[in-house]
């Protein structure tokens, strides 16, 4: 009897710990107030190691150590200009819905692709779009233009700038404090129906939160 209860309690505790486990948060909110915050992300076509080596993933650069962290949670201060840099190491394809080929919600409604501003990207031309960085509640959407699929692409995170990549830069002003879901809208879950399973539906890969703190 007692043993049964002990086992039950242990199982429940383990489950609760397992359930409440979320990806780590990379903290950008320690910057001096009023100063813009520089956030750096990268995308990789295949994370390369367990538990899901074949899944695409975002990684976030820890500002204090300069290390790439496998997570999709980052924290920025409220009402501050956020300068995003996303290094795209993945290939691209035509979009299912070209509507997300448009840059919205960023400063000037543009993003810089390797330094060149653009507003609408034709995903049917060139290398297509690999992912998007989107915060739907803030109306932010930036297509991450893909690399040539035939190039020698990076296949294990974290990627270094030696691999082919595109750099996208854009800025927006962070809203009031809260927790804002951000995600990729390109169905990049390889092998899942509609491409929206797996990494697209798992925190820490292609979905996460931008936490804004006052």
């Amino acid at each position: 009897m007692v043993g049964f209860f002990v086992v039950a309690v242990v199982v429940i505790v383990v489950l609760v710990i397992g359930f409440t486990k979320q990806p780590p948060t990379v903290d950008y909110s320690n910057a001096q107030s009023g100063q813009p915050v520089d956030v750096t992300l990268q995308t990789v076509g295949a994370y390369g190691s367990a538990p899901h080596p074949t899944w695409v993933s975002y990684l976030i650069k820890d500002p204090s150590t300069g290390q790439w962290v496998h997570t999709s949670y980052f924290q920025v201060p409220a009402h501050t200009r956020v300068n995003m840099t996303i290094i795209q190491y993945d290939s691209g394809s035509p979009l299912r819905n070209q509507q997300i080929g448009m840059v919205t919600g960023t400063a000037g409604k543009v993003a810089l692709l390797n330094g060149k501003p653009f507003h609408v990207y034709n995903s049917n031309a060139g290398n297509g779009v690999g992912h998007t960085f989107s915060i739907p509640t803030l109306g932010i959407n930036v297509p991450l233009v893909g690399n040539n699929a035939n190039a020698n692409l990076c296949s294990a995170a974290p990627c270094t700038e030696k691999s082919p990549h595109n750099v996208l830069k854009f800025s927006f002003t962070s809203p009031g404090s809260g927790s804002y879901p951000w995600q990729c809208f390109v169905p990049c879950g390889l092998g899942f129906l509609y491409g929206n399973g797996g990494p697209m539906q798992t925190n820490g890969y292609m979905a996460g939160f931008m936490k804004v703190v006052a």
Binding site: L95, N97, V120, N124, Q201
Partner: protein, 327 residues
């Protein structure tokens, strides 16, 4: 369960003649007392509800269909209140009056206590009448305001009487809604703006799994199915903003799949639509031509749920361009 009260009341009302071989005096009193309590309470609570709570029932009266739903809801509540009062009053009465600790006579068994034909038939009759009335009333309310705002599939049978219907396409996708305005060049946007006083046909469809377009204050709800045009009608009456939510579980971001829409005057709408059409022109020409359904691509951006050498795709255009992985 619907008509417990009426039936309950009748069972009390006609409870009097049940024990004809007994002195009927005391028999009758329970029934009539219950009936009186029920009548008085219902007569008080029903009008109170209708006058004070009725006008404030969500989702309000922003559109024809929302108004219809609220009216229907109120009628149902007005019918439900006496039923519930009836059952609860009866139960409370039984608990107080017929509890064992109060002593009292032993209950009577026998066929009369087990089977009172009159009460049974009146119960069945009353519930049946009420249910048939509700079904008839519900049908009328469904047919009357253009299908009550529910999704009616590709060939709607209850359509608005007005000649000018503004079509707006709602495209559900994991995990957001986008809207196309076919009468304005088919631009696609994440903003939903609708004009006041114009009948609107929402053509709801999906690019992947099932979603559900729920324009809450407009009283519109229609599933977004892949490859299916699901039409729902409404006519907005009041200006203001409304909430759009996804109402069918569609994966991780189901709870975050919402945005706000706005009802504006007709003139404002024209201005908004034409400006947006211009602003989005560059992107609009990259979109596939407007159609009521688009064939989603079962494969993702980089191919594969179904193997590439299977080729059912070639017969139809998928939304966007042909995916490289899908042959």
């Amino acid at each position: 369960m619907s008509v417990a009260a009426e039936g309950g009341a009748v069972s009390e009302g006609s409870g009097a003649p049940q024990g004809t071989d007994e002195p009927p005096r005391k028999e009758a009193s329970h029934g009539w007392r219950l009936f009186a309590i029920w009548l008085v309470l219902s007569a008080i609570v029903d009008p109170l509800y209708y006058i004070f709570a009725g006008p404030h029932i969500p989702p309000g009266r922003m559109s024809s269909t929302a108004g219809g739903a609220v009216f229907d809801f109120n009628i149902l509540i007005v019918l439900a209140i006496p039923v519930m009062i009836g059952v609860w009053v009866y139960m409370a009465y039984a608990i107080i009056q017929w509890r064992a600790s109060k002593g009292g006579p032993e209950p009577e068994g026998g066929p009369l206590a087990a089977n009172n034909f009159k009460i049974q038939t009146s119960w069945i009759t009353i519930t049946t009448v009420l249910v048939l009335f509700l079904a008839g009333f519900g049908t009328y309310e469904l047919v009357q305001p253009e299908g009550a705002g529910g999704g009616q599939g590709p060939n709607p049978i209850w359509t608005p009487t007005s000649n000018t219907v503004l079509p707006i396409q709602v495209i559900g996708q994991q995990w957001k809604f986008t809207y196309r305005y076919p009468t304005f060049g088919g631009f696609e946007t994440t903003q939903l703006v609708v004009p006041q006083g114009v009948s609107i046909a929402f053509h709801v469809t999906s690019l992947d799994v099932i979603h559900d377009f729920w324009a809450y204050q407009l009283g519109v709800k229609a599933d977004a199915n892949p490859n299916q045009d699901n039409v729902a009608f409404t006519t907005p009456y009041q200006l203001g903003s409304f909430v759009v939510r996804c109402d069918e579980l569609c994966g991780i971001w189901h709870g975050a799949m919402y945005n706000n829409g706005a009802v504006v005057t007709k003139d404002q709408f024209e201005v908004w639509a034409q400006t947006t059409e211009k602003a989005l022109a560059a992107n609009t020409k990259l979109l596939p031509p407007f159609a009521y359904t688009y064939t989603p691509d079962a494969n993702g951006a980089d191919g594969g749920y179904y193997p590439d050498n299977v080729d059912p795709y070639s017969k139809v255009e998928t939304y966007g361009a042909t995916q490289p992985g899908s042959g």
